[in-house]
């Protein structure tokens, strides 16, 4: 009985090993597969202006959408936009539903264990924002406050570490939830990206999220599946060229209203 079980386990382990090496060898094929299919599937945000949002005509638009178009164009393929939320974009990539994540994705060690990152393509920093009448200058000042944040986002992970014990973090599925919670007064403050707060203010809401303090400077990277060096090199090459010829600066000006920072 025991012996049989052992043998079964050994066989299972062997076949699993064969399976994973097979998968690893197949892995570096992504670039060829994309070229062959003629379609680049990109995970883009749909609730994250100005990186990606929908207008009155329900069509996606934004920095990330333009970036996806630029990369597809340089690869000579068509782009297929797949709207994702901040919480589900990594599963989308790791389960092969998309080829790239261009979804204002920041880098952290946990994520680096699971996926690879390109060079940075857009400036971004996270901070805590809130109405003028709440005075907060640092993480300690969050004591006793309720802060809304989008689950799984960089600012969620970072704020979880630095917020005092009596601050309450409310985590929402996506930015829609986080913004709604702030606007309806369900949370005092929100932790989010500079550009999200700027976009909210631009819509002239009844309650304005003004910057309180900086959590983390985290430019955006394109996310790729691991073990795809050819695709990674190609994407980096396209980003470098776009920085040089000014096409990235143009996208940045359109959506963020600023030139690309020199250190990006």
């Amino acid at each position: 009985m025991k012996k049989g079980l052992l043998r079964f386990a050994a066989v299972a382990a062997l076949s699993l090993a064969a399976f994973s090496t097979g998968a690893a060898r197949a892995a570096d094929m992504a670039l060829d597969a994309i070229t062959k299919a003629g379609v680049l599937k990109v995970a883009v945000p749909q609730d994250f202006p100005p990186f990606g949002s929908v207008g009155a005509d329900m069509q996606p638009k934004g920095y990330d959408i333009d970036m996806a178009g630029l990369i597809a164009e340089k690869l000579g393929v068509k782009v297929e936009l797949v709207p994702v939320t901040s919480a589900n974009r990594i599963p989308y990539l790791t389960t092969g539903k998309v080829d790239l994540i261009i979804s204002s994705l920041g880098k952290n060690p946990d994520r680096e264990k699971v996926i690879d990152f390109s060079d940075a393509y857009a400036p971004f920093y996270n901070g805590v924002f809130g109405p003028a009448d709440i005075a907060v200058k640092d993480a300690a000042g969050l004591s006793g406050k309720t802060i809304g944040v989008t689950r799984g986002a960089i600012e969620d992970i970072e704020l979880t570490k630095i917020a005092p014990a009596d601050a309450t973090l409310k985590r929402y599925e996506d930015n829609n939830g986080t913004i709604s919670a702030f606007m309806s007064g369900q949370v005092d403050l929100i932790a989010t990206g500079n550009v999200v707060a700027a976009a909210i203010i631009a819509m002239n809401p009844p309650k304005k999220p003004e910057p309180k303090f900086l959590i983390k400077n985290s430019p955006c990277y394109v996310g790729l599946n691991k073990d795809e060096p050819k695709l990674l090199a190609k994407v980096n090459e396209i980003i470098a060229a776009a920085k040089k010829d000014g096409s990235l600066a143009k996208i940045s000006n359109t959506w963020l209203g600023i030139d690309l920072p020199a250190d990006l």
Binding site: D47, A56, P91, T95, N176, M203
Partner: protein
């Protein structure tokens, strides 16, 4: 950034409601076909098949639709089946509907008196003949009202698919809320939209049920 009037809100909700209707129809039709299979397995002569279907029904009636969606959407792709939000939504609602419809219909089939089975088997009818000519016609009469009633549950169930990113009525509602900062109006309107879809079906189900009781 956007200037959105009340008419814009209504128009966009209407456009999104098409997806709610389409998803409900697909789930209802596919779920009905799969539900028939569940029904036949549930009343079959093989105890093991009946028991397996019992577990199938328990699984879908005993877990949240949201979890079923998450598993379909993220779980299936791990075994190599790629699904878009639309496909994942349609698949999980179909499975969900098949479990409920199969069980509703089983109740109707079992409500047909035992004597009818015995009489038809005395006429040397096979299982499928018995079903086709004797049992199903009577069971169907009983089944119409609760089936229509379930369609209301199904339409409401489509709201949950917004959570995996399928853009239907509820998702459009949350997106528009953040472009307009008018949650009270937008969610109120979304609720009215659902009500307009569901209430006529509820009324129909009740009328059918009353008619059935009057006929007996």
């Amino acid at each position: 950034m956007f200037d959105i009037s009340l008419w814009d809100i209504v128009r966009n909700l209407l456009l999104a409601a098409r997806w709610t209707v389409l998803l409900s129809l697909v789930a209802f039709i596919c779920g009905g076909i799969a539900g028939l299979a569940v029904l036949f397995a549930r009343v079959s002569a093989f105890p093991w098949l009946r028991r397996a279907m019992g577990w199938y029904i328990e699984l879908f009636q005993g877990t949240p639709l949201l979890m079923q969606l998450f598993l379909c959407f993220f779980g299936l792709s791990l075994v190599g089946i790629e699904l878009s939000p639309w496909e994942a939504a349609a698949l999980s609602l179909t499975l969900f509907a098949s479990a409920f419809l199969g069980e509703i219909w089983r109740g109707c089939v079992e409500a047909v008196p035992k004597g009818q089975w015995e009489a038809s088997s005395a006429l040397a009818m096979g299982y499928f003949q018995q079903m086709r000519y004797v049992v199903l016609p009577q069971a169907m009469r009983l089944a119409v009202a609760p089936t229509v009633g379930f369609s209301v549950q199904l339409i409401k169930g489509t709201a949950v698919t917004s959570i995996i990113g399928f853009i239907e009525l509820t998702k459009a509602g949350t997106m528009i809320t953040n472009a307009t900062f008018r949650p009270f109006t937008v969610y109120g309107l979304v609720a009215v939209f659902y009500f307009c879809l569901c209430y006529p079906l509820s009324l129909l189900a009740r009328r059918l049920e009353r008619k059935l009781h009057a006929a007996r």
